[in-house]
Amino acid sequence: MFETKLTARGVAIAFAAAAFVAAVSLAHAETASPAAASILSLVVKWLPLIFTGFLLNLLVSVLSMAIGTVAGVPLGLAQIARHRVVQRCASAVTQFTRNAPWLVLLFLTMFLLPFQFRLFGQSIPFPAWIKAVIGLAIPVMGNVSEIVRGGVLSIPRAQWESAESLAFSPTQTVFKIILPQALKRMLPPWMNLYAILAMATPLIAIVGVQDGLTDVRGALVAENRTDLLLPLYATLLAMFFIYCYPIAMATRALERRAEVKF
């Protein structure tokens, strides 16, 4: 039921965002008289390019999230391992990657990773955007690790004991009893993390990846008109908003459902 409400709301917000862009453009049209009429047409003209750049932002966000999750889940489990050394190391890595500024991590990976590598005698280029994916996947990994740790610890101790008393091994207990229950609690913060990551992707423009933000700046340079500044940035803003807002709403809906359940 909430899905229909969600789409209706999303569409309403999208219209509101579009209206905002239009209003801003028209407001400028009032002040900058002769060339005014062309502002909307200029936005439309640059829209495909900005949208292509925006798609790269999304691609980077999806890949970073995927890599960060695949690496973060075992890291999170290692954080609750009985083996002291494993547990300490996992916690240290988690804390370090969670508490470092994303932009600094991004710069680090940009400069630490080679721009090409050799495989079977052939040199394969290592483009900047892939390095950016890795750079963003690092803090995602740390955050996913904490989400997994928190989710697992939120399951009552009695569930472990119950499984133990039925002769489940620790591995079987984690994968058959604990994680399936924790998943429901981990999903909302995981989605929240993804929304934050998606909104943080324009950081890659700073390290030289041609994303949506780079394209907006390129368009502004090409047109050399200050009255385009606001409409073009607002266009990119609207794209991010339309993408992230439904995720935020779905997260909230899931949280509400989890509240009722437990």
Binding site: A158, Q159, S162, L166, A167, F168, Q172
Partner: protein, 249 residues
């Protein structure tokens, strides 16, 4: 109150001591449980009754003494704990069913996952067990949809599915209202009558008196007195037993 004939010793506890830090929770515990015997452990809260059960199931390590389960030393550091737990089932006060699984899946899970038994064969057995605890029509229900008494009976069926030699009951009716309590007690009575070896920690004095072959009274981490229920309830030898029974009866 008929005392059916008892078999060979199945659990032999000798000189067990259990500490939590500086606090001694169990001291000089001796107990022998025979195949088919029903043992009830009574005593005030905090007397170490539940801890003793957890030690038998290797859920809590002991500091001194020996616990033999079917000839296997539980206090052996090289012990395969899982091997002991396959022989000893435990039912908890708070049922502790797996909330993400149906009643049937709860019963089937351990035999399929741990013992690697054929799921079809296990399902047939699990359904029979649910029938035995009168819950055959709740096979598809999740724990959240069941009453406390029903959940507890699923927990008993889940424990039985592992074909244990002995089942430990840790105050299994303490969280239940009088009506649902009765359902669970009926199930346990039937189990005991069928010859299942049972050790119960309980506050249900009337029930203990009815089904127990042997009653142990514990206080302050020691076994104060033990014997057939007729002795413990009608002619307690120790003044501490008498004082406790005066309070609860």
């Amino acid at each position: 109150m008929d005392h059916h004939k008892l078999g060979a010793p199945i659990i032999v506890i000798k000189g067990v001591e259990k500490r939590f830090g500086e606090t001694v929770v169990l001291r000089e515990i001796d107990m022998v449980v025979h195949r088919g015997e029903t043992v009830c452990i009574i005593g005030p809260s905090g007397s170490g009754k539940s801890t003793l059960l957890r030690c038998i199931n290797a859920l809590a390590p002991i500091n001194k003494g020996s616990i033999l389960v079917d000839g296997v030393e539980v206090n052996d550091p090289k012990l395969d704990k899982l091997a002991v737990r396959r022989k000893v089932g435990i039912v908890f006060q708070q049922y502790n069913l797996f909330p993400h699984k149906t009643a049937l899946q709860n019963v089937m899970m351990a035999p399929v996952t741990v013992l690697k038994q054929d799921p079809r064969e296990v399902e047939a057995r699990a359904r029979a067990l649910l029938k035995r605890v009168r819950l055959e029509d709740k096979a598809g229900s999740y724990p959240g949809e069941l009453s406390g008494g029903q959940q507890q009976r699923v927990a008993i069926a889940r424990s039985l599915a592992m074909n244990p030699l002995v089942i430990l009951f840790d105050e299994v009716t303490a969280a239940l209202d009088p009506e649902t309590k009765k359902e669970v007690l009926v199930t346990i009575r039937e189990l005991a009558a069928d010859g299942m070896t049972c050790i119960l920690v309980t506050h249900e004095m009337a029930f203990a008196r009815e089904i127990a072959d042997t009653v142990y009274f514990t206080d302050g981490g020691v076994i104060v007195e033990s014997g057939p229920p007729s002795q413990i309830f009608q002619a307690p030898q120790n003044p501490r037993t008498r004082a406790f029974l005066d309070l609860v009866l």
